[in-house]
């Protein structure tokens, strides 16, 4: 099934392939990718075949071709225009993060309710939240990052959706309601931190 996890793995394969390419690898094998990402080689082949990518066990995959195919699948063959709602600490951190451009993701503009935050951050303009709906519509943007406080998250999401946003990465720690055709991926860092706590505690108890 083309589920969330298989797509996340494709992103990871793509990142590792970029690295292999930098190192001069003309061909890669499912084993190499499996080791780099931490899955089995059969998982790699299964994921690729799911998305219509074929290789052969003897010759592996041509690095360039594989990168091109993954880019197409992940919509990295075109620039992805993204807006950010909320120019607080998280929104600003994302505006300053330069890893997006490398991945073909362009933060097109940001929006905030606070006039003091409506300024330029690097090359990105922060507009007043009132302008969001019109801007999204006029520029045909479909992807948004929701980085506003919990209390206004649902309202801002509703505005985004009505303007034509169909995919949202959400940082507000609440459950959001959205129409079925809108994909919401909520980022929750607590389980990630709990994971660190669990494994480092287990390791200390083991060694102590």
């Amino acid at each position: 099934m083309k589920n969330r996890k298989s797509v996340i793995r494709l992103s990871r394969y793509k990142n590792e392939l970029d690295r292999f390419k930098t190192q001069g690898a003309v061909r890669v094998f499912s084993n190499d990718l499996a080791d780099a990402v931490g899955v089995t080689a059969s998982q790699v082949r299964k994921d690729f075949s799911l998305f219509g990518i074929s290789g052969n066990r003897r010759g592996g995959y041509r690095t360039d071709e594989l990168i091109a195919k993954l880019k197409k699948i992940l919509r990295k063959d075109e620039v992805q225009k993204v807006i950010i709602a909320g120019a607080g600490n998280i929104g600003t951190a994302l505006m300053q993060y330069n890893g997006f451009a490398q991945q073909g993701i362009q933060i097109f503009a940001a929006f905030d309710i606070d006039p003091l935050k409506c300024r330029q951050v690097g090359s990105i303009m922060v507009y007043h939240m009132d302008k969001l709906e019109r801007f999204v519509r006029d520029n045909g943007i479909h992807i948004g990052i929701l980085a506003v406080p919990e209390s206004s998250a649902q309202h801002v999401l509703d505005v985004m959706v009505s303007a034509g946003i169909t995919g949202v990465m959400n940082f507000a720690p609440i459950r959001l309601r959205a129409p079925e055709q809108c994909v919401i991926n909520s980022v929750n860092l607590i389980p990630e931190l709990e994971n660190v706590i669990y494994f480092s505690s287990a390791a200390r108890e083991h060694s102590g």
Copy 2:
């Protein structure tokens, strides 16, 4: 295997159980948890049995008992002291996030190289980075969040590790070297955003 994913699932079960409890549920079934988290009921039972938690299919689990057991496994029966290295946008967003306290995680202090950032944020003091090693050692802290720029991440990590940190949640977009006994969980938001892009593009193409 008690791997990363099984522990992440335990955190999620725990969150859903808190919600069930708020709603007055005295007992829960693996089906309820499975639906809430988006896995199969057999996965839920498998995870619980892996960590030594038993229930029965007829009566399910007592909500209170199950929460207590998960809290113990996830080290939530004691307050977890955490420091943050880096008081830029990400570090400051984390200092202001009030979800940690609810989960028994206490951000104990933060550190930055910039004297202008050495101030109080909410109830958390930001000290100069020079003080990190001593502070971590004196307070017996084992968990740290690395939110410094890429260029200084490895150096700051080395200082953290030598002071006694054994678990790190890392936001710097680079590969870090650490001794085997130190657990590093690197947060990379790009695959999460690519996921949103993939599924919302697929949905638009399907409907268009």
